[in-house]
Symmetry: C2
Subunit: 194 residues, 2 copies
């Protein structure tokens, strides 16, 4: 079991940030982040997440042109914004990722509803692992789904089977720019034990 400080870092004290301190995130940290999140479970180990880490001014400009108005300023000031994408042909990698069942590819190929649900569910799960892994490494996060998905796919994934799911800025948050924390549902309102 993790200690209280770790639980605070991951859950109880972690916040979604709106402003960023002027402190860079290194490429080495991005590799560490992936090398943690990749171990989180996905169905049949399908691992559909594909990530573009936007760091350069040129890539940032392309990204900002896709974001909703309310998300532009805060994305502009982030040292890195990750585009969390999903490979809609993830099943082509199952012979490599799920070698003990050679039939796994056939569960998906040609079954568009199953492909879409599996890609969305599992790349979002991996997005959850991304956020937890970033926090575990001492980074703050700002996930966002307010962007033009068609423009984003055209700008970053043209000619590939990858589609954007959501984006997440990472860096060192400026706590002076935090909003009050939103309430959460009580256990009784969200859960039951049967």
């Amino acid at each position: 079991m993790l200690n209280d400080t770790a639980l605070q870092t991951l859950f109880t004290e972690a916040r979604t940030h709106n402003g960023w301190r002027d402190k860079p995130v290194t490429d080495e940290q991005l590799k560490q982040l992936y090398d943690l999140l990749k171990w989180g479970p996905t169905s049949a180990n399908c691992s559909p997440v594909r990530i573009v880490f936007v760091k350069s001014p040129e890539a940032k400009e392309k990204l900002l042109a896709c974001m909703n108005a309310g998300n532009i300023e805060k994305t502009k000031s982030a040292p890195v914004t990750a585009i969390i994408g999903m490979d809609m042909e993830f099943y082509e990698k199952l012979p490599q990722l799920f070698p003990h069942n050679p039939d796994a590819r056939s569960w998906f190929a040609g079954n568009q509803p199953n492909i879409e649900t599996t890609a969305m569910r599992n790349s979002s799960l991996q997005g959850g692992y991304f956020i937890m892994a970033a926090r575990a490494l001492g980074l703050d996060c700002a996930p966002m789904s307010g962007f033009n998905a068609d423009k984003m796919n055209e700008a970053f994934f043209k000619g590939t089977p990858v589609k954007a799911n959501f984006v997440c800025s990472i860096g060192y948050g400026d706590t002076s720019k935090l909003h009050p924390r939103g309430p959460r549902l009580a256990f009784e309102d969200a859960c039951r034990i049967e």
Copy 2:
């Protein structure tokens, strides 16, 4: 930043389990689990996840009748299996959860594609937080999406706007029943830095 032991517990040494030790999970642990995962971020704090913790023999029997054949034995032996559901009317709670913008409900109400994508993306993100929170509390996990969703919705969510997303057994894993760990994609095959 978390220490190596914590990173092992959450990511690098954690495994999806197929067998379970005969050690119970208390209701108090389930409440602790929810009281961690609820703090993970969702878009507009929409928090669509709804969870049924299946513990009693009666509820377990209903659950097993919905699972795919390959998942029945391992689910039978788990002390608790959580049904991770999503409230397709999550937007009715936005006046409570996102009080600073009274318009938030109208972003969703009547917009079925936006409701479905938001519920799926965010309840799956919360599913990722669920798995990380369970591991943080010293529990092992076995997430599964191999079940009959219509039967599951009928058995556990009839007459409600909640739909099953995936299920996840929790308990103390029997390491003697682990399969060899599946490989993961290299950074270069899943990510790029722009």
